[in-house]
Structure formats: structure tokens, C-alpha cells
Symmetry: D2
Subunit: 342 residues, 4 copies
């Protein structure tokens, strides 16, 4: 059994990690911390876990995380960069679900996240945890930077194209829509039911923190800088991201075949038949990305539809997938639950 610790388990990615890990046959949660809720039973905060997870939140200071094989950070941005290095130095492997180690360019990270970075040296060592792109890097990583939710949906949708050099890289467009759980379990007016339900809106059009992350990833895949317009929207669902991607094709390749080839052996990427429209609910609560391709009116614009559950393939599920890779387990271990539909 892999001994696992979770730092900051009271948010939505935290409780989703708990749901997945509590059902994982090869992992054992030995500690979970929360500064504000130390002493509280996890199942009191999340009654869905009653009788299935007998753990209390512990104070980060006293929790014995150093004895873990792996620690997940499900904390706000800026926490892992301060607390992870000590664990890493003690030989504990770490997966950070926040953004602290995702952006290689420290200055760019500091610009977008508005704080000084506390451990640039670990940024250099961190492996970006998108298994479909860098499985072998993840296998050997001591520190994995788990991708953001939008970046996962967008990069998986564009990857076969930019890798193969089949589209113009200067004007990619990602029009992305997220469920409200993407905003986290924080008491904010904008995420109230009476604000967010029966409503649809774009936000952060002038610049969202996932933009540099996506740009970095796609540029690396393309071995060339990409130009990207990224517009996120808030849509009234709890879980789910739908990325609608637009690219100008350079020539008339068989894109459907290229995608099918690229992802043929991927257990968690599903290329739908031509003409399909993936529902976000077709991946609800499951670690899957479904993708469909369209060329409207046979023109030069390729439209890629990519859906994930932002809390699973976009966060906790991908983190467990990375854990499986890091510890030599079958990649689907503990992640084989079917989507919940309806």
C-alpha cells in the first residue's frame, strides 16, 4: 500500500481526492491536514464519506507527513512552494494540484500569480503531469505539477495538431466553459447559487492564469511559440469543462485518423466518431477526456470539442493517474469508475 498524505483537504479537489483514494485498492490515506478544521472528522464535513473514511483533519504542524510515500497538495496557490520542499528533501514524493510548479518561467509565474516564488529550484525539477504528453517524465519525478483543469482539456484537444504541425500556430482560439466547482469551495458572492445558476458569462477575458500554462505546454509540444486567445466562461453546472477549440488547418490531412492514432493506447482519452458532440455529463465523475472533431462546411477551420470533469481528469483523477504512474501501478488502478449519467 502506498502511504498517502493530503495537505488541504477541505476544498473540492480535496474531497474528490478523498473519494478516489478511499476507493483505491493500493493507496492508504494516512493523514489529511487542514489548518482551520483540525480535529474535525472528515466525514462530518463531507457526509458522503460516512462509514467509509475514518480520519480527522490534522493540524499541518503536527501531521506526520514525512512518513508518507506521497503527499498531495490540494491547497491554494502559494502554499506548496513553501511546504513541499521540506517533504521532498525528506524523500517524500509530491503532487501539487495547485499552480506553484507549473510555469517554468519564474518571472511569468510571479506576474500572473502576484507573489514572489519561494522555491524556483523545485520549479526546475518539477515534471508537468500530463500523462498523455510526458508519461516517462512523470514516472521518475519526485515532484509533479498537476495540470490545471482548462489546460488539460485544451492541451489534449490541440496536442495532436500542434505536435504534427498541421495547423497555423499563431491564431489558436480556445473558447472554454467551466462548471462552478472550478471556482473552488470558497465563500464568494459570484459563486452563489443565486448568482451563478440560470446565468452564463465570460470572465477574465483580458487574461486568465491558465493562459500562460496552456501556451507553455502547446509551445513545447509544437517546439515553436504558439499564439492563443483563451476565453473562459462560467456555466451553471457543478462539474464539467467543455473546450471549443478553433484552428486554421494548413492542409487537408485526415484529422480524425491523426487523433485516433495519437491516442490509440491512452486509457483516458476517447476520440468520438466523426460528427459527434460530447456531453460534459458523459465524463461526469470519471477520469476521461472525450474529443470530437468537425470541419464545418468542409472549410479550413477545424473545430475540436474536448470535455472533461474538471475535478477528475482536470484535477484529482489526473493526480491519482500520476500517482499510479509514479509508483508503477496499472494506470487505471482506482480510476475505472464509470461516469454517472444521468
Amino acid at each position: 500500500m502506498i502511504k498517502v498524505g493530503i495537505v488541504g483537504g477541505t476544498g473540492y479537489t480535496g474531497v474528490e481526492l478523498l473519494r478516489l483514494l478511499a476507493q483505491h485498492p493500493r493507496a492508504e490515506i494516512v493523514a489529511i491536514t487542514s489548518r482551520g478544521d483540525a480535529g474535525t472528522a472528515v466525514s462530518q464535513m463531507f457526509p458522503s464519506l460516512r462509514n467509509r473514511l475514518d480520519l480527522n483533519f490534522e493540524d499541518p504542524a503536527s501531521a506526520n507527513l514525512q512518513n508518507c510515500d506521497l503527499v498531495f497538495f490540494a491547497t491554494p496557490n502559494g502554499v506548496a512552494m513553501k511546504q513541499a520542499p521540506a517533504l521532498l528533501d525528506a524523500g517524500v514524493r509530491v503532487i501539487d494540484l495547485a499552480a506553484d510548479f507549473r510555469i517554468k518561467n519564474i518571472a511569468e509565474w510571479e506576474h500572473w500569480y502576484g507573489m514572489a516564488h519561494a522555491s524556483p529550484e523545485w520549479v526546475a525539477q518539477a515534471v508537468y503531469g500530463l500523462p498523455e504528453y510526458d508519461r516517462s517524465g512523470i514516472r521518475d519525478a519526485r515532484l509533479v505539477a498537476n495540470p490545471g483543469c482548462y489546460p488539460t482539456a485544451v492541451q489534449l484537444g490541440f496536442m495532436p495538431l500542434v505536435e504534427a504541425g498541421l495547423v497555423e500556430l499563431d491564431h489558436l482560439i480556445a473558447d472554454a466553459k467551466s462548471g462552478v466547482s472550478g471556482a473552488g469551495r470558497k465563500a464568494e458572492i459570484g459563486a452563489l447559487f443565486s448568482e451563478a445558476s440560470d446565468n452564463f458569462k465570460a470572465y477574465a477575458v483580458s487574461g486568465h492564469r491558465h493562459l500562460p500554462e496552456i501556451r507553455q505546454g502547446l509551445s513545447k509540444m509544437a517546439a515553436h511559440p504558439v499564439g492563443l486567445t483563451f476565453v473562459p466562461h462560467l456555466t451553471p453546472l457543478i462539474r464539467g469543462i467543455h473546450a471549443t477549440l478553433y484552428a486554421h488547418t494548413k492542409d487537408g490531412a485526415d484529422f480524425q485518423q491523426i487523433f485516433e492514432e495519437r491516442y490509440r493506447n491512452e486509457p483516458f482519452v476517447d476520440i468520438l466518431p466523426p460528427g459527434s458532440h460530447p456531453d460534459t455529463r458523459s465524463v461526469r465523475a470519471a477520469n476521461v477526456c472525450r474529443i470530437a472533431l468537425h470541419r464545418p462546411q468542409g472549410g479550413t477551420v477545424l473545430v475540436i470539442l474536448s470535455v472533461i470533469d474538471n475535478l477528475v481528469k482536470g484535477a484529482a483523477g489526473q493526480a491519482v493517474q500520476n500517482m499510479n504512474i509514479m509508483f508503477g501501478l496499472p494506470e487505471t488502478e482506482g480510476l475505472w469508475q464509470l461516469p454517472v449519467l444521468p
Copy 2:
């Protein structure tokens, strides 16, 4: 492996059965029928099952159901009573998720369901499949009448009280609220998103078909006829039933303790601590009933809150639980998924 067939798999209880059975380690779906969709791949209708369930809908006439160990009927009312007897006679065991075999009094059934009953003799033999009430009967049953969704939530909430004779039986009230999936996957105006969302309403207040079913069950538990007012409501969630039950207590028993005792060994009934309010989402997609008790202002009215997922403990999950019992498997086999929250 138990060889399982499903008759009528295109509704919501059907697809939920598929989700549960496809993940069940001891069951194998060998046939699924649909008159209207014969030939269609199941995963084409329900993309959530892509790459995980390789089956086509078959025509009921040609499907080899007689070779199954067990056949589930997930059909509209009135189908199983016609088709199940031939299978039963051939030695196949049957679980009917519809209402055909639930009501022992044929005349009453015919009154509420508006048709003549096609196999009264099997009604007599059928066992009502509420495991917490009649586990041993289910074990030996050839034909199980799987309870309705409202009846499951209401009976589990009242059972300890009426069994123990602790409340007045003449004036029980069940104010129940259901998610819209309870109406089935049928194209009807009233179940449209634009009708049912951002809306709340009661329906069938003058008489709902689950009333006689609940009354029969509670009367049997009490060994005495009960009087029940049952008011169902439609609430804008996909899954979930919340039953708010009112009973006049006869004396000052420790109701909390009585409930905890009654359900102590039940894997799928969870009595919450005093003062709790169960969320429907705390059982979403899981085979659990959570119950909490209140005596407002210490008065004589006992308020019981009982929640289930109508498609799981209220339908497909309970059917699989019954299968497990009928075939001597651990009762939780294939039913141990954690609820999906948020």
C-alpha cells in the same frame, strides 16, 4: 459469474443498471433488449459507457434471455407481468423494477394502474424486495418485486416506528420530493428543462400510485392498517428523493437509539447523529439511505428525514442488492461506490 439479462434498457433505471452491472465483479450482462432500438450499440445511446460495455440492444423476440441466471425488467408498468412468467417457468429468476408485482391485492393494483393484471398467480409468489425488511424472503425468491423509489425512502424512514408500535398509525404524513429522473426518460412536456428547472411543484396530491404500495408495506410492518397522507413533489435535481415524514409519538421513547439499533447491521442505511439534516447529494449515485430524526421543540411530533438516490437505492442499486442476496454474494458486492459530492 452470474449471467444477467436486461429487458428494456433505454430508460434511466436501465442505464443505471448498466452502470452498476458493468462494474460488478460477479455479474456479466449477456443480453439487453429494446424493441425500438434493436441493433443500436448501447454505448451509442449512452456515451458514458463507451469502451466499457460492448453490447448492442437486441430485439426482445430474439434475445436469448432463457439462458440467463437472472433477468431484470426495467420496462414500463405492464410489460413484466406478460413476459416474465415464461422466463420464470424456464427457471430464470427475475427482478422487476416496475410495479407489476408489488401490490398483493390484485383489484387494488388494477385500480391504480388502470389495466387488468396478466399474471395474478405470480403476484402471490413475488417477494417484495426491500432487503432491510425481508432479506430471507428475497434470498429464496424466484421473482422479486423491486420497490418503488418513494416507497423505499418512506418505508425505511417509518419502519422502526411502526414495527415497534411507537407512533399513531392513523395519521402518518409523508411529504416527499423527487428529482426529475424519477419521471423516466420519456419525451413529455412536463419534464422538459424549461418546465422543470427553476420550478417546484406538488403533483398527484389526490392520489399517487406509490400510495397503496407504501400503505401495504407499512401495514404489514405494523401488523395493522395504517393511514397515510402522501404528497409527492417535483424538485429541480436530476437524482434524489427527500422524504420528510411526520408522526405523532405515543410516548417518549429514545427514537434515535431505536433507529440505530434497528439498522445497526445494515450496510446501506445510515442513521445520522441527532440534529442532522441529510443532503440528497450525500447519497448521489450511491446505494445508501441516510436518515435523521427530529422532535421540534420537544413536542409530540416526530420528524424523520430520509434521503436516497432514486435511481440507486430507489431502483437499480436496490435491484443489484437484491441480486446479491438472491445469489449468495456479499450484499455490498459491486455497490460500494462512494457518493459523488459535489
Copy 3:
């Protein structure tokens, strides 16, 4: 034109007051205050009011409320009892949408609201603003205590029965369901979209602040103390209250006729034909209460279904109705908008 001031306009009852008053042909909003948002344009916070309401939030200290004919308090409980007396003494009439002046028994108020009352003398003078019960009292009132949302739906549903002495008063039951806007525009975890949508739950079953208010009102109508069990629930809609009321009838009166008679001249109470089930959306955004009656199976239990929009007939709309009465305007002035359906 009636010169109107609003204290505390940044919540949902505040913005609803703005919507109604901005369209009222005989009222002019001359000041609106907010401690936290002084200086901000109202239409910046609520873009739905752009180009239609040219006002800034003002600091309560400097706003010239004393020149108003009428001031609405749309503040949290405990504010109006401190600030309203000075205005009242200056001759300004006041409608308080919070609970400060609703409960005549000061000790009971202090028990339920957890604070000492700052102006008991004004409680005695305040008129409870349920027009269908006490129109003449409202006409002459200097201070109107606008009823709570649940109390409006429940009292209008029970009033004809308790006034006429046709039901047993000891065991009334009110099973009430509210949309999430009833919780106010406050940043609280429980009201987040990801918590409250696709979910249903009871809350405050042991005791809700609206219980003493309803009990006081019904007891006064009955001229006799009533016993009431009140169970509120949270349901995933923005606006709407559905009260399902249960009463034991004493005899076989023609309840339908009694309700129709009682409300014959009421512009804002609509008794539906026998057998009806009112939708909450049938009153969405309108100042209407719709009521339907049922006697299931012809028994002795009477079921009353009563729906309102909690922000309109349950708050801001009723407040404007009270204003119309107080200032001798036609009662429907500015309140004649049709419900928004779908």
C-alpha cells in the same frame, strides 16, 4: 410622487425593491444607502438597472433620509430597530423588511434573534404588514413590519381555515420549500452553486425564526393559540416558496368555496380550481400568491398548496403593496407585472 429612501440596498430584497420602485409610476427613489459600497453606482453592482436608475449608494450617515416620505429598511436583522426610530420621530414612515418589528413578545424575539431589542416601544406601535389580514391597520401605520417569506406563504394558506375555526389548531404542519435567494446575498459556503444545486435538504428543523412569527399570526387570526410544526427546506431554484400545509378538518365544509370567498376581492391571492397544483414559476417575479386545496382520498386531512415568489410577495413586492396602501394609491400600482414563465 412619493419620495422613497432605501437603507441597505445591496441584498436580494434590496435589488428587488429597486426593480419594482424604478418602474413604479408614483414613487421616486431619492436615496439608497450602503455602508460598504458608498459611492458605487447602483447600476455597477446590478447591471440589470443600467440606464434606468441613475443613483449611487450613499453612506448612511450622510444620506438625507429625513426628507423622504417613506424609508424601506432592507437591512440585516437588528439594524432597523436602531436606525428607524430617529426617522419615525422625524415623521418619516418606515417599512422594515427584516424581522425587527414582527414579534410582539419582546422576550420571544430576543430568544430567537439572539440580541437585546433596541426599541421595544416601536414594536408595540408597528403594524404587521400582511394586507390580506390587516389592510386598515397598514393604511394608518407609521411603521410597518413587513412579513417574512415563509410566514406570508404559510399564513395566507392557513388563514381562511383558522379564522373560520374549521381545522384542529393543535397540530398544523407546514412543510415549506424555499429557493436559495431566501438565504440572502451573503458569501456563505452553504449557498454556493456547487453546494445548493442538484441538492435538496431540510434545515433548522429543530427551530426556525419564522416559526414564532407564523405562530403569532395564526394564533391572532384564530383568536386561540395554535400548535405548528414547521419544517423548512432548501430547493435549487433562485426564487420561489412552496408551502405544503396539512390540517385536520373538523367537518366537511366546502373548503374551496371558503377560500374563494375569503380572497374574492384580493388582487394578489389566486385560488386555483380544485385539483390544481401551483408551480412556483407561475408567480415568478410577480406579487401573487396562488393556492390550491386537496383532500386526498376524501379523508380528514386537508392539504393546502401555497406558492409565492419569496422576493416579491414574500418581501419587496409586499413592501410596495404596503406602501401603496399607506399612501392611498391603488394597491396594484407598480405591481401589475406578469409572472415570467418559462
Copy 4:
């Protein structure tokens, strides 16, 4: 009073027309037809209209539409082209809310709508009813083709740019999201609550009927053919369209100023301040289009956000606006209701 008839009033655009016209001070609904529901009281089907609209649905054959000043067709595509000509010949003016008269190229219409056109001669005479583009044409029109919902949001968002020649016309992109009421009040599986709620999906990516309509409109505005990729999505709200528009700018004009100038005198188009993100709820139930502009990272891609209520500015409200223009009334008459928020 303008005597108004409505053909086909049982859908969502029909009931919205009823809501608006029943409150219009200068219009009188004298007849409303429905083949299937003749004899039914309108308020029985739509209880929101109880006590406010005393009309029965009439059979189209017997309704006296010829005496109307104006007849609205709120019928499925293909009805008005058969029934409107007789009325037009009798001197009745007509506004068709369906698509029969929107596309000037008959062959293209027949291609997209899959039927032969029954009155091409009236297509030629029809005026496309987008007031902000062709107010004077509408004023004199005998037959107005009321624009589709998507086309209204998209054209108003692009119009100032294509008129002024400020963007590249070959590669416009419109990523549009619609609430479910846009699918109409038809009993279809895909529009069920349990299918459409908590879900997000694209549809008709290969080609949607509104594509040729938008292309025709923009090409006319630009006096040049435009290339457009149009991807519609279904989002779980009842009302609302959010169009996210992408255009490559040719130079660095002050786009904010250009939009403000273009719409300065328009009562129903609101250009938000730079940096804004319009919510669909900010126009809920109101005849308004709100638009905001962004140039992410100061690049060459202009992002335009355009929101309307699909049933109001996208259908019934625009139809009433057109009526006001045709009959010389103030354009805002009967359309001045404030949006309903929250």
C-alpha cells in the same frame, strides 16, 4: 388600440408574446389560435396569465384573423409561408417569428429547411426585422421576418465592425451558447431536465440553420461576403444567449468608441464599459442586448461578448419592437420592463 392576432400561441415564443402584449398599453389581443388546443383557456395552459388574459385558443380555421391590424406567427417553420399570404392580401400586416421569410435566396432556404418554399414572392417583399439595422424598412413593411435568436445576438455584436470594414471578413467566429428554451416547447428527449441540466454540449457544429441567416445579414452590412464559423452550444439555463465573437482586426481603431457611437441612440442595445463581462441574467426577461469588447493582451484578436434573452430580444420582444415601429408607436412602448435579477 392595435388589434393583434397570434397564430400558434402554445410555444415559448407564443407565451412570451402573450406576456408582453397583455401588458402593452396600445395593443389588444383579439385572437389566438392553436390547432391542437382550440377551446382551451390560455390561462389554463399558462397559469401565469390567470386573471390577466381572458382568451381561449381558437381553431385557426374559424379565428377571425382578417380583422386584425397585425398578426404574429409563432408557429413552426413552414406554416407562415402557407397561411400568411391570404392575410397579407387582405391587408393585414404580419410579423413571422419563424424562419419562413428570413432568407432571400430561396434555394438556400430550401436546402437548410428541407422543404419547398410556398411563397417565394413574399420572401422578396419581406423586411428582415432587425431594427438597429433597418428601422425605416420595418416601418413601411407589410411583412416582417423577425430574426432568429442567435442571429440577433451575433449580428448586433459584429455589425459595427463589418459596417466599418475594420475586421477581416473571411474568418469570423461565433461561439454561441443558448438556454434550453431556444429548443422550443416540444416533447423531445434531448431537452428533458435530466438530459440538459448539469450538462453542456455543442450541437449542429457541421451546420445550423442560423448560419445562412447570419451570413446573409453580415454580408449585407459589409457589402461583401463574409466567412463565418458558427458553433452553437446548449447550456443549462432557461433563457439567455451568450455569443462570444472573435474577429481579426485590421488596425488599431478605438473599437469601444465605434460601438458606443453606432448604438448611441438605440434604446435596446447597451455597450458596457471596457473590461466588462455581461451576464445573461442582466437581460433576463427584458428586451436588451448588452455588449462588451476585449482585446486580450492587446493583440489583434477582438473578442466581443453579446448577450440577449432569446425569448425577448431574440424573439417576442423584438417582434413587439417591430410592431411598435410599424405602427408609429414609441419604440419602447410595452417593452420597458426591467430585467429580473436574481
